[in-house]
């Protein structure tokens, strides 16, 4: 198994201090190196996650960051899969360690999604992350596509707008104890339902924010880690899968079939046979409130997800806490960093070193981190496990 020897991340928010993505990536990398108790010279590969050069105005960012980090000479590459970029980079790094191609891999994700461009420009660019030629050229936005998928899901599952709003409330409340979070908010169901309509059924408070930020982890085999870090969380399983890109070509446009396939691969690698009972924490891709329920369904995390959601089963005190970090809606979403931050949340929860107020009292044995690009088109799932398992 691959050890998550070190973790580091910046705050996720909209930067107003004039700093840039190279500053954030450097801060996250050096924090992860320090927490892994390793030196720069120990790193022999760098994997960088970033969704789009349009956001950063920097093609080939991996070579630039290798130079910034003082890692000249290491193998470096950039991994991209839309919203799944961060976790796909984690997978690439894990495969390097498992294959013996590298001993210590730094995986660094960043995105300047908030302060570099206007929100309108970022939204227009996001419209091309689906099938740009067909869906994209209608002028549709990510929110409208997610809304159509959600409508199909609602018709099939009987989930309603209040179910979605409860997720917005919970994730923003969780973020209140997360010092790195972009949107720590104490809001009510009514405030969500009364917030301005973006695309029906999604209102402003049902949407995740555009954020700036960076996150980094150091991966290695347990025996190659400093003795003090050998008890850290491990990556037990990784899985990725794609779905039909266009919603209209899917058998059920409201079901995340690619996510289900990715999860099954990750569970098989981790030896998980019953995710609905074995997993103790989930960080899922809540780009929109309803997408969290769609993810719980596809990941197979509950036998009856709607009843369990309505009875608080996915709350911090429930059977399976979901998005304890606040998720994308609360913690924020600097795209390339998002999946890496999810892995960090899972690893620190398993180790018992997560933020005060959010650390689960009963340490989860298994935790699952879930991301996707498009409307669950390119999906990537990672299973983490404690050292004693």
């Amino acid at each position: 198994m691959v050890l998550v020897a070190g973790t580091g991340m910046t705050a996720f928010n909209r930067r107003k201090d004039g700093s840039g993505f190279r500053d954030w990536a450097g801060a996250a990398f050096h924090e992860s190196l320090e927490s892994a108790q390793l030196c720069r010279d120990d790193i022999d590969a760098l994997v960088v996650a970033s969704e789009s050069d349009f956001f950063s105005m920097q093609l080939n960012p991996a070579s630039v960051l290798a130079d910034d980090f003082g890692l000249t000479g290491v193998a470096c590459q950039r991994v991209e899969g839309g919203g799944a970029s961060g976790q796909l980079a984690v997978h690439a790094g894990a495969m390097m360690v498992l294959s013996g191609a590298a001993r210590h891999v730094a995986v660094v994700g960043f995105e300047p999604s908030a302060s570099y461009l206007s929100g309108a420009a970022v939204s227009e660019l996001y419209g091309y992350s689906f099938d740009a030629w067909t869906d994209g050229m209608t002028g549709i936005s990510a929110t409208a596509l997610y809304a159509l998928s959600a409508k199909v899901f609602m018709a099939r599952s009987n989930a309603n707008q209040e179910d979605f709003a409860a997720i917005s409330v919970q994730n923003r409340a969780n973020a209140c104890d997360n010092p790195t979070a972009h949107l720590p908010l104490e809001i009510t169901l009514e405030e969500v339902v009364d917030s301005p309509m973006v695309f029906d059924p999604y209102r402003r408070l049902d949407c995740s924010p555009l954020s700036d930020g960076a996150a980094a982890i150091i991966l290695t085999q347990p025996e190659d880690a400093p003795a003090s870090r050998r008890g850290a969380a491990r990556i037990a399983g990784i899985g990725a899968a794609s779905d039909r890109v266009r919603l209209g070509d899917r058998g059920d446009p409201g079901f995340f079939a690619g996510k289900q396939a990715a999860a099954r691969r990750a569970y098989a690698m981790a030896g998980i046979e019953k995710p609905e009972t074995q997993i103790g924490l989930a960080e899922v891709y809540d780009a929109y409130s309803g997408a969290q329920l769609q993810a719980i369904e596809a990941l197979g995390l509950s036998r009856d997800y709607l009843t369990e959601h309505r009875s608080g089963g996915f709350s911090p005190s429930g059977r399976l806490p979901v998005n304890q970090s606040g998720g994308l809606m609360g913690q924020g979403a600097p795209v390339g960093a998002t999946g890496i931050a999810q892995v960090i949340a899972c690893a620190r929860q398993i180790e018992g070193t997560y933020h005060d107020g959010l650390q689960l009292k009963k340490l989860p044995r298994y935790a699952v981190a879930d991301t996707h690009g498009g409307v669950a088109t390119s999906c990537a799932v990672t299973v983490l496990v404690g050292a004693g398992n």
Partner: protein, 132 residues
């Protein structure tokens, strides 16, 4: 530091040119698989009937009458969009609704305009009064 980038693309339409030509004229040009007869609008580049082999699917272009039934619709500040099934097609299409004030499930293809060359539909119904 301020920086401005302006891009002006010329995108190669390739094998989907007849579909895009049709949208510009307001006619629904679908693709039909020669092996299994599946009709797709918007067209697919590969047919799922070829999953178990390494052959490239072959297609004919097929004119549909352009009528569509909306299955799901979303309205927002940026307009209205729908998942709709065009008569004779086996898949659904994501479409822009050209007049969001009109309600109804029956629609027909509307010729694309220059800035938005994608699929657009007009609803065959009456405009309704809304609060917006």
């Amino acid at each position: 530091m301020k920086h401005r980038l302006t891009l002006d693309y010329t995108l190669g339409e390739g094998e989907l040119a007849p579909y895009l030509d049709g949208l510009r004229r307001g006619t629904a040009t679908a693709r039909q698989c020669r092996q299994c007869d599946r009709v797709t609008f918007p067209p697919e580049r590969m047919c799922s009937c070829q999953t178990g082999n390494n052959r490239v699917a072959t297609f004919d272009w097929k004119a549909l009458d352009g009528k569509a039934e909306i299955t799901h619709r979303t309205d927002g500040a940026g307009g209205a969009f729908a998942l709709a099934r065009f008569a004779g097609a086996d898949n659904l299409a994501v479409c822009r609704i050209i007049d969001p004030t009109v309600r109804g499930n029956q629609a027909r293809l509307h010729a694309a305009d220059g800035d938005l060359p994608g699929l657009a539909i007009e609803i065959l119904g009456e405009a309704i009064e809304t609060a917006r």
